[in-house]
Amino acid sequence: MGETNYLVVGSSHAALEAVHAIRMIDAKGSVALVTRDAHLPYSPTVLPYVVSGRSKPERVALRDEAYFKTMNVDFVRGATLVGIDAKNRTARFEGQPARKFDKLLLATGAQPIIPPIKGLDKVPFHVLRSLDDALGLRKAMGQAKRAVVLGAGLIGMHAAENLVEAGLAIGIVEMQGQVLPGYFDAKASGLIEKAFAAHKVTLKLGRKAQEIKSGAVVLDDGSELPFDLLLVSTGVKPELGYLEGSGVATERGILVDARMNTNVEGIFAAGDVAQAKLFQAEGTGVAGILPAAVEQGRIAGMAMAGDRALKPYPGHVSLNTYTFFGQQAISVGAGVAGPVPAGAETIERADAAKNAYLRLALKDNRLLGAVGINVSLDPGILWQLILRKVDLAPVMDRFQADPLAVGRVLMSRLWR
């Protein structure tokens, strides 16, 4: 049985930031990064671009073997975590000997949800979560003419755009009444839908797939969408089977505190697998986005190594950036996708000629959130204005008129 001071399971952003943070403090302790993937570390976010061919699969690696050698990290591929014995501090793997650990980080990410649609188990379909998935989809795309995408989330929309660019006829099915629900309000999504419609994408919004037949999706209104390529992108959720009997508490994800520690001291979780504090709402949630994985991974690594500079996780702020057919969409914070929260006000501006739309949500002179379609915004600055609860009262009129410039002025002042 191997023994490791710091055992990190997973190999994407959260895991990599944790390893970096550990090595900032502890140069000597043994670190192992174990992943079930066969490849060098990569980001799930890059996968749509592997499908499109923009990213070469051999060039998407976030770290190479030389990095792990320099950092003295034992990088192990092809080993799937199957069980944890919290009492004896042991992790069991398929295809690898078990390892004892002092500190364990679970950064195993999330896996595609396969919806219970009649007939889906009878037909071949694609998902897009791993590099192998992307390579498979890219290969299939070359031989297909008509594709149907189930789910209009970010992965589905990215993939659909790539399939359009590859010359396929596309249909998208989404249960909710708009694309990218949760990040954008109906008006913002409307502009995105318009761009897809202009590229002859068939959008079936507010529709459910009733049944999958060979070569066609049957919708709940009885209509059919024919396909020779089917992509299921109806969301992701963490697979937590390996925690059975471990005593580690879970809900939708692994429950963690502000140091990313689970209910078992010394066992941590970060990234898409973790259910952590929310910044703009009560309770906890699975953030499921890259910037949150980076933050959580860094905090977990600092906590594992005992870094005294650690500041507790402030909570997740919803963030997204999205480019589509050369246009850009940005969503930051709360109060911009759904109904306006109590006591908040929203400011909306649209410029139809430019396909531009801006929505700001404000409460008590603080920024709650912002959505912009084809509007220049600095999402990183907006994020900081939300996190720092910056009082905008002295600049409110100017901020509403030009959030880009005024946000930059506010952040510039923090730097000499």
């Binding site: 990569y42 890059v46 998407v60 976030l62 890259l290 910037p291 950036t321 990183g380 510039s412």
Partner: protein, 446 residues
């Protein structure tokens, strides 16, 4: 790991929003309009200007957020490099940046950011107002570690003391071929001359009387010269040992043009013996011998300005320095070292003291900087041939209260006293300005 890098510095108070930097950037980067500039100057709504520019962060969030490996920290230049052929336009880097330093520009079709023009930033060259500067001070810290530390680890200076920082930098630069005199004061007090039977320095160091530092150094230097050896002799003395008790010997050595490098570390008082007032203590300062009470409100007389006194000796080289401006200090140290081979070189370093001046130990360098930026301690150098030259701009100073309010020993000051201190600072600058002959290049060593 641990390497420091050159960086673009913004002095907002000098910026008038002319936009020359933006124009220069657009030209250098081949853009068409201001949107393609990597540097953005923004009116702050109150007549001033702020900046959005890549800070080339050490722990860069844009790099961490990049899913495609398109952004990387360059280990040689420190610049965050962006690789066009790896970027996927996901814009997640812009989520990471808190400064608007990496931005998506629609008409260009991808994110843009500053690359410092390969070490010669066009914006800095174009700035007509000294609002932008390219700081290469990192080079000092990178080379610092390669040089041998001439002092023992574990010197027992107070927390936040800048004298220790100063002497370690100074002696690393000077090297082992030197003899150091450290008359009574904080510098020997912290253990440089030895403690508990151990030595405190790797060079010969001795502890003269307060009165005879310059005389002893003069004799040592003359002896070495007679032996045909070029050994640097250095005084690391406090203001008490220089301005008050040691002045007679110092003045004599300067008058004779002894080949000495004399560095006065001025913390404006006898700080290691209980914070008594010295001749260098400024008007209004609280010290243990100039207390604040019903009648006395700190020191009643004005402090001596010894660097000006030394200039009047017509020393081969005289300079003032502050550790907030390390490049400036290193340039002066180099010139002083060179000068001391053939003449008397005097460097007066202002050394704010957290223990004696009553400010937090984390604020030492900030206080140094405020002293310079308020013109309370103008930085200059003098040679008999070149006259006096200000080495940092003295235009548009901050109000003197920015400096005074940051320091506990001035906490009690009454408006009339502040007015007097402002008057002294103005007079000092005005008097110094009269010695400026030429505003051109640095005078050559004589």
């Amino acid at each position: 790991m641990g390497k420091a890098f050159d960086s673009i510095v913004f002095h907002g108070k000098n910026c008038d929003g002319c936009g020359d930097c933006v124009t220069a950037c657009v030209k250098a980067k081949g853009g068409s309009d201001a949107l393609s500039s990597r540097i953005k100057i923004l009116p702050d709504g109150a007549g001033g200007f702020e900046l959005a520019l890549c800070r080339q962060c050490g722990e860069a969030k844009c790099v961490m957020n990049c899913p495609s490996g398109a952004l990387t920290k360059n280990g040689d230049s420190g610049v965050i490099d962006w690789a066009d052929d790896k970027c996927v336009n996901c814009l997640l880097c812009t989520v990471g940046c808190a400064y608007g330093g990496i931005t998506y520009e629609a008409q260009i079709g991808h994110v843009i950011k500053c690359d410092q023009c390969g070490g010669q930033p066009a914006c800095v060259a174009a700035c007509p107002h000294d609002a932008l500067a390219f700081s290469t001070i990192a080079g000092i810290y990178n080379s610092y570690g390669d040089k041998e530390d001439m002092f023992a680890p574990g010197l027992s200076a107070c927390q936040g003391c800048n004298s220790e920082l100063l002497i370690r930098h100074t002696m690393r630069r000077i090297g082992p071929n030197a003899v150091v005199a450290a008359p009574p004061g904080c510098i020997p007090g912290m253990g440089t001359v030895g403690y508990n039977g151990k030595t405190g320095a790797k060079v010969p160091i001795f502890h003269p009387l307060l009165t005879n530092t310059s005389s002893m150094l003069a004799g040592i230097r003359r002896y070495y010269e007679r032996q045909g050896r070029d050994v640097t002799v250095v005084a690391l003395a406090g203001d008490g040992g220089t301005v008050d008790v040691g002045f007679q010997a110092l003045s004599g050595a300067a008058e004779r043009g002894e080949h000495i490098l004399y560095i006065c570390v001025d913390n404006e008082g006898y700080m290691n013996t209980g914070m008594q007032s010295s001749g260098s203590t400024n008007y209004g300062s609280w010290t243990s011998t100039t207390p604040v009470g019903p009648s006395l409100k700190g020191k009643r007389s004005d402090g001596k300005n010894l660097p000006m006194v030394m200039m009047m000796h017509n020393c081969a080289y005289v300079a003032t320095a502050s550790l907030s401006h390390m490049e400036d200090y290193y340039a002066k140290l180099d010139q002083a070292l060179e000068t001391s081979k053939n003449g008397f070189a005097y460097v007066h370093v202002y050394a704010p003291c957290p223990s004696g001046w009553r400010f937090h130990s984390s604020k030492t360098i900030d206080i140094c900087r405020l002293g310079v930026e308020t013109n309370f301690i103008p930085l200059w150098e003098f040679t008999p041939k070149g006259g006096l030259r200000f080495t940092l701009p003295t235009e548009n100073p901050r109000p003197i209260t920015d400096y005074l309010k940051a320091i506990g020993k001035y906490r009690h000051l009454e408006p009339a006293q502040i007015e007097h201190i402002q008057h002294l600072a103005d007079e000092r600058l005005s008097l110094l300005s009269k010695f400026v002959r030429d505003t051109g290049a640095r005078p050559a060593a004589e």
